[in-house]
């Protein structure tokens, strides 16, 4: 029986507009493009799963095809769900390692010094490249010492009760295991706006699990997160924020559309951080800012584009005095989460990003600003520029 709700491919009129705007089809002919991999062949796969084509694996799930589609076909969702519906499950230690961010992160932060030292060694890199098929050219994000949660409990939690309003902060894996600085900036920005921060119980949002086919695990995490977050918003005015655009995208859209989970209880309360700050600014909650005199180029991540969140980030950044902001032409950076960490896709990933890297180098900024951590890794590895988060810019502006 064909699932009657899953026939959005029938709205496809075969105009091929999605393929024009697909960053992967642009750089490799191994990927025949979203139209063919999505709506065209989905009808065949439904009849006979053996008609599955290996080229589907090239899709990065950036969702640019869905933005371009004039007929509202959920092209990337079709491809993504076909990947895990029809490909044979094969255990791969690399994919397990890349996707189980909680498990790996919790271990790594205990031995972060050793981890960071070893993953940068060339014999280790050679081993990763040859045996695990993680390209030696890829630079790993550094692990922090301890988790953000521990820091929060020890140094920040007590002070939060002094504030009348609170926001629930879904910090995500990157802040917890790699970049405490961003989490600390979020706390200081919220506090400067006279808002306290609480952190919910949380697990990895599931983005890397979905990308690597660990669907049951992703559903389990989703169930856990929905339940935990729902409890934090019993007071209906409470808002949940993330500092990762992809976490927000997963919690709001991938849960419902791909994992087919009911997240309606948290949907309206949850947003990527700049939307929340924008609303606060609109309501008049704008603390005094001091000038942040830097020249910055802003890169908009694909998933934030899909959610329509880019204008909030730009609006918030434009209010920072002294910030000379150039908006880069919207383009995919190529890393697509764990995609760029796989040897077989490394070259495609870098080729996709090359147009963006050229634009950044032409802009000659002091810093690049972006909302997504994996975009940050990709840009820092592929250009000479350091990448900052919009919240870190605000933290500088609010500094006393």
């Amino acid at each position: 029986m064909i699932d009657l709700e899953n026939i959005s491919f029938d709205h496809c009129i075969k105009c091929t507009v999605c393929t024009i705007y697909c960053p992967v089809a642009r750089v490799t002919h191994h990927f025949p493009g979203p139209k063919q991999c999505g709506p065209d062949t989905e009808r065949l796969r439904i009849k006979n799963p053996e008609l599955l084509d290996d080229s589907l694996r090239y899709c990065t799930n950036c969702k640019r095809c869905e933005i371009a589609c004039p007929s509202n076909v959920k092209i990337a969702d079709i491809i993504q769900s076909s990947k895990w519906k029809y490909f044979k499950k094969k255990f791969r230690i690399r994919d397990y390692f890349l996707s189980h961010t909680d498990l790996i992160g919790n271990t790594a932060v205990k031995y972060s010094g050793i981890m960071n030292f070893f993953t940068a060694l060339s014999p280790v890199k050679f081993f990763l490249d040859q045996v695990l098929l993680i390209p030696s050219k890829r630079i790993f994000p550094k692990y922090a010492r301890g988790t953000f949660r521990k820091w929060f409990k020890k140094f920040a939690r007590k002070k939060q009760s002094a504030f009348g309003t609170h926001v629930v902060y879904f910090h995500g894996c990157f802040v917890n295991y790699n970049e405490h600085g961003l989490g600390k900036d979020l706390v200081s920005v919220m506090n400067a706006m006279n808002i306290g921060v609480t952190i919910p119980r949380e697990r990895c949002c599931g983005v890397p699990l979905i990308a690597n086919g660990y669907i049951e695990k992703a559903r389990k995490n989703a169930r856990f997160n929905i339940n935990a977050l729902r409890k934090t918003i019993e007071d209906p005015g409470t808002r949940i924020v993330t500092t990762s655009s992809s976490c927000a995208f997963a919690l709001k859209y991938e849960y419902a559309n791909l994992l087919e989970m009911d997240n309606s209880s948290i949907f309206n309360n949850l947003n990527y951080i700049t939307r929340y700050i924008y609303d606060q600014f609109q309501a008049g909650n704008v603390p005094p800012m001091k000038p942040v005199t830097i020249r910055a180029a802003y890169h908009s991540p694909c998933h934030l584009e899909r959610m329509g969140g880019v204008i909030y980030t730009i609006d918030v950044l434009r209010r920072v005095p002294g910030l000379d902001l150039q908006i880069l032409h919207s383009e995919c950076c190529g890393i697509a989460g764990t995609y760029g960490f796989k040897k077989e896709y490394y070259d495609v990933s870098q080729k996709v990003g090359s147009a963006l890297f050229k634009r950044i180098e032409k802009a000659r900024p002091d810093f690049v600003i972006t909302d997504c951590e994996t975009c940050k890794w990709q840009i820092e590895m592929s250009t000479p520029y350091k990448v900052l988060h919009p919240v870190s810019i605000l933290a500088r502006a609010f500094e006393k």
């Binding site: 105009c15 091929t16 507009v17 393929t19 024009i20 705007y21 642009r26 002919h29 191994h30 025949p32 063919q36 869905e66 933005i67 371009a68 589609c69 004039p70 007929s71 509202n72 309206n268 939307r275 924008y278 609303d279 584009e305 899909r306 959610m307 329509g308 969140g309 204008i311 609006d315 032409h329 919207s330």
Partner: protein, 430 residues
């Protein structure tokens, strides 16, 4: 979010309006749900190609004077012929600023060839479709080679040629065919019969293949002076590579618009969007307007799928969401309506008279002429029949014109977009 002007619809009408407003110093945003009809278009801009008896119009501006007098509800009549002329000049200058040059035939229409080998009268074309050398070569009945790219499924030279030869204008013209083969596209296992116009355009956009392609063109075209092929001579490097190919082959290279995706149309789309962004306009892509609310008789804000409760406010709103195909108008068994604000539609007849029995009727279908009713200033009416003064409708959503039957789609889109922008600029005191 708060703008001077918010345009709903990112097609040629919305973009023309947006560029005009933004360049006059208004803060302007364009919302678009999916890519526009430019991706399905010929890439030429038609002004008016056929008169009311469906005969070909040769001098469109002269004809428009009499036409607008006889058709007071037509969008061209609302704009006025002078504004139509200004709008076209504005479009040409805008594209030129993005290095896309547009050619016309003095004040007269010229023809472009379709993929079926028929001729269509049009007003503006890109360099590879009309210019003086092309006109002269045609007038001396130069020999033509129609070339196709092997593996390209959306064009059949034999069909196009047999139709062309039926045309009086091609009497005694010698036409031959030939094919180009892509020298090297990496993986030989790739099935070569999967090419779409976009794949081939990317090959032509890459400089390394041009010498080899030029050699093949010379060989296949023989002594033909004129080489016609489906439109895929690149997107980003089109201008440069078209010139290089003409230089290397010593032939005139002509492009025939293809089935979607239309490379000719994409060049216009790219140039207009790039212009809008360079001027500082905000393009919000992939979002859909769900509705709006009125305050003191004017439209106060709209809300969208992605922005949920955030209100998008503006002093003036433009609705250029197109016709039925793009969802600007919707129909069901009961009738037709405008889905965003339920604006008043032109009088519509019973459903069984909406369309003519022939799908490709030269006159077009009656439903083409249905649309949103406006005042002479392009202000629509709300469901109660009250004029919405801070809102304008432009392009294919408008009633009382027949883009297919008249050959007027592009001209109406550009003129009404421009005319609405003029009024918004004036109202905002700029």
């Amino acid at each position: 979010m708060n703008y001077d002007c918010l345009i709903i619809g990112g097609g040629i009408s919305g973009l023309t309006c947006g560029i005009r407003c933004q360049s006059a110093g208004l803060s302007t945003a364009i919302l678009s749900a999916g890519m526009s009809a430019l991706h399905f278009s010929s890439g030429s801009i038609d002004l008016i190609g056929y008169d009311r008896a469906r005969r070909i119009v040769h001098s469109p501006f002269e004809y428009l004077k009499e036409f607008t007098g006889a058709m007071p509800d037509h969008p061209y009549a609302h704009c006025g012929v002078d504004t139509v002329r200004e709008a076209l000049v504005f479009l040409r200058d805008t594209l030129k600023a993005e290095e896309l040059e547009i050619y016309d035939n003095g004040e007269r229409n010229h023809f472009h060839v379709t993929g079926m080998g028929t001729l269509k009268p049009t007003y503006f074309s890109q360099r590879s479709v009309f210019n003086d050398s092309i006109r002269q070569a045609f007038e001396r009945r130069a020999k033509i080679a129609v070339l196709n790219f092997e593996g390209y499924r959306d064009f059949y030279p034999e069909l196009a040629i047999s139709n062309l030869l039926k045309n009086e204008l091609f009497k005694n013209v010698e036409i031959v065919t030939g094919r180009l083969v892509f020298p090297d596209y990496g993986d030989p296992e790739k099935n070569p019969f999967e090419y779409r116009s976009i794949d081939i355009a990317r090959i032509f956009d890459t400089i390394q293949y041009l010498d080899e392609i030029a050699e093949q063109i010379k060989r296949e075209a023989g002594d033909a002076e004129f080489v016609a092929m489906p439109a895929f001579i690149g997107i980003n490097n089109y201008k440069k590579h078209h010139q290089i190919l003409q230089m290397l082959t010593g032939k005139l290279i002509y492009e025939i618009p293809t089935l979607p995706p239309s490379i000719l149309g994409m060049r216009l789309d790219d140039a207009l969007k790039s212009r809008f962004a360079d001027l500082g306009g905000v393009l919000i892509a992939g979002d859909k307007v769900m509705g709006g609310d009125f305050l003191d008789g004017v439209l106060d804000h709209v809300h969208t799928q992605n922005y949920g409760t955030t209100r998008l406010r503006a002093r003036a709103f433009v609705l250029s969401t197109g016709s039925f195909f793009s969802g600007g108008l919707v129909s069901d068994s009961g009738g037709m309506r405008e889905p965003v604000l339920n604006l008043r539609m032109s009088a519509t007849s019973p459903r069984n008279t909406w369309y003519s029995p022939q799908f490709l009727d030269r006159k077009g279908h009656p439903f083409f002429e249905f649309g949103v009713e406006t005042t002479g200033k392009l202000n629509p009416f709300d469901a109660e029949g009250k004029v919405i003064e801070n809102m304008f409708c432009t392009g294919a959503i408008l009633a009382h014109y027949n883009p297919i039957g008249e050959g007027s789609g592009g001209g109406v889109a550009v003129s009404t977009g421009y005319y609405a922008a003029n009024q918004i600029i004036k109202a905002c005191g700029k």
